[in-house]
Every structure is written in structure tokens, then in C-alpha cells.
């Protein structure tokens, strides 16, 4: 989805809820979509302070992030580091996450068969599924290699 149309989608969303498009909201929105990594609210606050443009307070950043999550522009993920991180939803397909316990890297993966088995489990329990999240905790390829090297050195 192109920058222009995605901003328009945000305007529509605001209009639909009787909300206004302020310079702060526009800037927060654009900065959030200029990153293609996961980012925290504090990181975003920092970027906005460091870079030129209409200033936006921490409170407004938090409020706007909430709005963007409500509008399904972003989704919040608890990567277990004491703060939520955000990722784009618009223009991205659903996926789950692998969290590296060593370096903190977040990898994404998707397996349709897992999704189907989840639905089957819900059907069996009469549970009406709204959303889910699956987080795999462990060591990414790079960190796993380093760990196995240093443990074999230790054992020698």
C-alpha cells in the first residue's frame, strides 16, 4: 500500500469517528510508517524529538498509537522486554513471532496449518476466536551458534 493511500485511509478513519487530523497525528503516523522495524512508543518519542517537524508530546504519541491500533493500522506486540512494540498491519499479512532471548531480535513466521488447528481447537470448545498470538521464545540462528560454540569451549 502506497504512502498516499495509507494516509488517506487514516484520514477516513478519523473522519468516521468524528476526530481531527492534527499536525501531531499526521507526523506520528508518518514516522511510524517510515520505519519497517518493530518500534516502541519511547523510540518513536525519541525520533520525533530528534528529527525536525511539528513537536508531539509523549502523551500524544501514546494516545495516537492507541488510535492506530484501534484502527488496525498498527498492532502492538508484547516482546517481553517491559514495553510494547508496534508493527504495521496495513499491507502486511498475519504472522506469528519468534523472540530471541539473547539479542532481542523478532522474527516472523506463518504456518496456515497452525491457524487451522487453532480454529479446530476453538470449535471443539465452543470458543469464538477473535485473535490469537503465538510467541516462540529461544535463540535465533546467529545466537544459537555462538552459544553452542562457547559451551563446547567451556566443556573442553
Amino acid at each position: 500500500m502506497k504512502r498516499e493511500s495509507i494516509i488517506r485511509a487514516f484520514e477516513e478513519f478519523l473522519k468516521g469517528r468524528g476526530l481531527k487530523l492534527t499536525s501531531q497525528r499526521r507526523r506520528i503516523f508518518e514516522r511510524a510508517f517510515a520505519t519497517h522495524e518493530h518500534f516502541s512508543a519511547e523510540a518513536l518519542v525519541g525520533w520525533l524529538q530528534a528529527e525536525a517537524g511539528p513537536r508531539a508530546s509523549r502523551a500524544t504519541v501514546y494516545r495516537t498509537l492507541g488510535l492506530l491500533v484501534d484502527g488496525k493500522f498498527l498492532s502492538a506486540l508484547d516482546a517481553e522486554k517491559g514495553e510494547l512494540v508496534y508493527e504495521h498491519v496495513l499491507g502486511h499479512t498475519h504472522h506469528d513471532h519468534m523472540l530471541c532471548l539473547e539479542c532481542g531480535k523478532i522474527e516472523e513466521f506463518h504456518d496456515e496449518r497452525i491457524e487451522e488447528l487453532q480454529l479446530a481447537a476453538c470449535r471443539k470448545k465452543g470458543f469464538e476466536l477473535v485473535s490469537h498470538d503465538l510467541r516462540l521464545r529461544g535463540y535465533c540462528r546467529g545466537c544459537a551458534r555462538k552459544r553452542s560454540l562457547s559451551s563446547s569451549a567451556r566443556d573442553r
Copy 2:
């Protein structure tokens, strides 16, 4: 696993780490295993205050819960209600959770095929899996029924 042997396991665990079995730890441990529901740290603090026995401060409760999680006696679950809830590990097999958005009920389920697909996904990415958690958010059977009744009444 019987009460007696599980307490012994706790003693062993403490001894192995050079820690002491105090009256507070014993009481917290026993109270935690006397419940077969998920419970929060605050709930446990409340029970200990309300019921007779050696008193234990909030700080000690939190510290001991941490210990019990380290020792794999309990596991902590973020049920997205602003506080962690704990459940027994000893004597229970691994399972995942369904969280009811309406009543807060936590249901458990397990599907070995999902576990296998997770492992397969990790192999593919070179990710060394340590643990995982899968949370399905939605409406439990009872709440789903109520919701569909009231929405059809509204539409009429």
C-alpha cells in the same frame, strides 16, 4: 503429585541453591498449591492476610513466586488483565490458553500437532526453541451464546 512429595521437591530445590525454607516460603508455597485455579500475586497476598498462619509481606510473596517460577513449580501467564497469573506446573502437562474477552475465563487446550508444526517452523529458521506460548483471544461458549442472543435481539 502428592502434597508431601511436592513440598519435599521444594525443599530440595532450595537446598540445591543454598536457600532456606522459612515459614513464609512454606506458607506461600502451600497456599499456592491449595488453589487449582489461576491466581494473581495480589490474590495470594489477600488470602494470606485473610487466613490464619505466619504472615508474609507483599514483597516476600512476589519474591517467592519468582522463585517458584524459576524452579518450575509454577508458571506465569500474562492473561492481558494488567497482572500476571500463576498456574501449577508440577503434575500438569503443557497446554496453551484461550482467554475469554468477556468474562475473563481462562481455558486450557493442547494439540500436539501444533507443537510439531512450531518445531518445524523453528528448524526452518534455524531458531533454537526454548519455550512458547499461544494465546487465543475470543469468547467462551457461554459468553458467545449471550452475545449472539443480544445482537439478534438488537437487530430485530
